[in-house]
Amino acid sequence: MVKEITVLSGKGGTGKTSLTASFAVLTQNSVLTDCDVDAPDLHMLVKPEVLETQEFKASRVAVIDEETCIQCEKCEENCRFGAIEKHVVDPILCEGCGVCAYICPVAAVELEKRVSGVAFISKTKYGPMSHALLNPGEENSGKLVALVRQNAKKVAEKENCEPIINDGPPGIGCPVIASLGGVDMGLIVAEPTMSGIHDMERALGLLNHFKIHSLVCVNKYDINEENTARIVEFCESKGVYVVGKIPFDPIVTEAMVAGKPIVEYAPKIKVSQAIEELWERIFAHI
């Protein structure tokens, strides 16, 4: 089995994507995925060239035929999502369950497949990449994440690449869970703020819940060293290894504007050295 690691954080904006891109530079033989399918950013740092595009059709949407409809309102009464009002379906609220089509006495409701997004298989100068883009406002992000990971596994086996590095979404819900199933390790990128600590604890709880080996790194550790100490203490008390600490440096934003992973943009600075050491330690764990 190809080894697989997911970078997550709970809280958004802690540096998952900047780190993932740097890991890709440092390994050169990994497959990258962007599992943040509704707000993907990794492509801006690794500049993929798309080789394959797949339409992602996972959901259905109800459509009522005006002419057949006898306005009995049975569909509206039975819809649990409040998606039908005055014999018209609101596609934004419709979850495609099919209750309306089943209940309709005159078969006026049809369920149409809808395209919820696209998946891509690409190449970057650091190795293959699997990513996607969910249509704005869509659901089913979890299923699209599953497709992205499935594509990555195929590519990894075909091209003999290892490990797979998943750039995870923020939060702890559906798409995060989909980016964690069966992975060998979860790396939490924490930031030393009160919110960051709270969210890291919930992310750790999630990894624990799914019995996934967890590692923590603290990004921008020097913006509040007291909080960093708290994170380290908390992790130690839970038997979780703090695998590295990365200092704050505005040059990381500069690298983002330049569209380059930080370890490539400024390999000599402290941040890049810290990331290199961090990756070595993670790699030893895999």
Binding site: K11, I92, G137, G171, P192, M194, N224, M256
Partner: protein
């Protein structure tokens, strides 16, 4: 007036804006709809006076009545039911509570039972009412909990909704039927890319919007250019400021130590009302 604070990209400062606005305006109710990682209570430290469980409905199958015909599992669009020759399995995390299985069962063997997915907490601090949801760890679906938080809405107040990051169903559920959306972004390529997707969601929903640029001074000017080109009002810029960052890291809303910002946030609300 119902105002939602959203962003697309995570960590741009949604909660910072929502919390500091709540402390600057009068008669505010703050609804934290980021039920996966709620943070506004960390900055506000409210006194919690009520905690309520939030449940969704899942099917319960009577083994006595069921004849394993499989119609329920065939109907279920979410693969939440599996029927074997002598048993039926329910996968609660996959169930969307549509009630379809109960409707299609020819033997009336399916009833529904409640299953807890999280809690909502209600509290108060400095005249601000706060309601937030907390999704149970390991639970996938945030939307039913977001809807439960929004049910607590008091429309006679200025309602501030702190939305989750992302541009998918959780954002839609949070911003649905609100009067205006404040988009908090940072002036970086990541901030801009995710902002554009969020703007599309809001256009589809027909919700008017304006942008707050947080950490202004870092990155580049592309968010400014985009807003101008798309005719999206720039409501406020919050500079990249060591003091603001330091206060945030300690969990302190910046208006409590930099009260001059209260007036700026009130002006922003007035601008939105106009």
């Amino acid at each position: 007036m119902i105002l939602t604070v959203a962003s697309g990209k995570g960590g741009t400062g949604k909660t910072t804006v929502a919390v500091n606005m709540a402390l600057s305006l009068e008669n505010v109710q703050l609804l934290d709809c980021d039920v996966e990682e709620p943070n506004s209570h960390i900055l506000l430290q409210p006194k919690i006076h009520e905690t309520k469980p939030v449940c969704t409905k899942i099917p319960e199958i009577s083994e006595e009545l069921c004849d394993y015909c499989g119609k329920c599992s065939k109907f279920c669009a979410y693969n939440a039911l599996f029927v074997a020759p002598k048993t039926v399995m329910v996968f609660p995390e996959l169930c969307h509570s549509c009630g379809g299985c109960r409707l299609v069962c020819p033997k009336n063997a399916i009833t529904e039972k409640e299953r807890q997915i999280g809690v909502i907490k209600k509290g108060e601090v400095k005249g601000v009412e706060i309601v937030y949801g907390e999704l149970n760890v390991g639970e996938a679906m945030a939307v039913p909990l977001i809807r439960a938080v929004k049910k607590q809405m008091k429309i006679d107040k200025t309602v501030l909704i702190d939305a989750p990051p992302g541009t998918a169903c959780s954002l839609v559920a949070s911003v649905h039927k609100t009067d205006y959306c404040i988009l908090v972004t940072e002036p970086t390529p990541f901030g801009l890319y995710d902002l554009k997707i969020t703007v599309q969601v809001l256009k589809d929903l027909g919700v008017p919007m304006g942008v707050v640029i947080n950490r202004a001074g870092i990155g580049d000017r592309k968010v400014h250019e985009y807003c101008e080109k798309e005719n999206i009002p720039l409501l406020l810029e919050i500079p990249f400021d060591k003091k603001i960052a330091e206060l945030y890291s300690r969990g302190v809303p910046f208006v409590t130590e930099m009260p001059e910002w209260k007036e700026k946030l009130r002006k922003m609300r007035d601008m939105i009302e106009r």
